[in-house]
């Protein structure tokens, strides 16, 4: 397997979606190639990092409009 192919298969590998043969080729390459090992590590870190980003609040007026929707609904 070449590195250019390896980098396209990382997400499939992490999801356990590679067929048996591709999985074996992928891991064989991984054992031999430091660059790809590092790429895998870095791509694997992105998911948890996205999960750890703080929630972004809405702009004040959009938020106020939603709260008004709630009040109208409750009063109706």
């Amino acid at each position: 397997m070449r590195c250019a192919e390896f980098v396209e298969l990382v997400t499939a590998y992490l999801d356990g979606a590679l067929d048996e043969r591709s999985h074996a080729r992928f891991e064989r390459h991984l054992r031999r190639c430091e660059g790809c090992e590092r790429y895998l590590e870095q791509l694997r870190a992105v998911g948890p990092a996205v999960g750890a980003l703080p929630p972004q609040p809405l702009p004040g007026e959009d938020r106020d409009r939603l709260l008004a929707v709630f009040r109208d609904w409750h009063e109706a």
Partner: protein, 204 residues
């Protein structure tokens, strides 16, 4: 992230008119809901209207929430239906399958004969939370500028924690599409972080 109470408590509080509870949901969920809406409609303003219609639909439909899925998933389903209807009205019905296959995860110039010219450099941190401390701003900015469908998938998978199967079911897309979109999204974010660390390393 402040944690929310159990679904039954949330629903009871909303029915009782607890505005603080509603505000807490709006603050915690709106960004991701908006981003998902934006993958069905063509402007941010439309997505904002979808969000408002969604919350209205949620409130009016509260009595119908059976707890078969989580409350949040129920809200997501209402959002997706609302956004789809709106997308159809805008005649923006690009099927999710006809998208985004082309771009490689890594710039082809990084390879020679298929192998790394120069392998990726080590990062100061390659672990989720540390990465956010080091490069959170870069990640957030990259996420905000992803193509909407890639962003919808990475948010559902990596921020909301849905499985691949759940995302396929929610969005009505194939396993292959789901994976391609997720891979493009993660690769784009990784590239952004890499560029940032390279720039930082180059500074005296």
């Amino acid at each position: 992230m402040a944690s929310l109470p159990a679904d039954t408590e949330i629903v009871a509080a909303l029915r009782a008119g607890d505005e603080a509870m509603f505000a807490a949901l709006v603050d915690a969920w709106s960004r991701n809901l908006l981003w998902l809406a934006r993958s069905y409609v063509s402007t941010d303003a439309s997505a904002q209207e979808v969000l408002q219609d969604t919350w209205l639909g949620v409130l009016h439909g509260l009595g119908g929430f059976q707890g078969r899925s989580s409350f949040k998933t129920w809200v997501y389903r209402i959002l997706i239906n609302t956004a789809k209807r709106r997308g159809v009205r805008e005649s923006r019905t690009v099927p999710w399958s006809s998208i985004d296959g082309g771009e490689p995860a890594v710039d082809p110039g990084r390879f020679r004969l298929g192998h790394w010219r120069e392998p990726p450099a080590a990062w100061p941190s390659a672990e989720g939370e540390a990465l956010v401390r080091e490069a959170g701003e870069q990640l957030a900015r990259a996420l905000a500028t992803l193509p909407p469908r890639q962003r919808a998938v990475i948010v559902l998978r990596d921020a909301e924690g849905y499985s691949a199967d759940e995302v396929c079911e929610l969005l009505g897309i194939t396993a292959v599409n789901q994976r391609v979109l997720l891979h493009r999204a993660r690769a784009a974010l990784r590239n952004r972080v890499e560029r940032y660390f390279v720039t930082m390393a180059g500074r005296p």
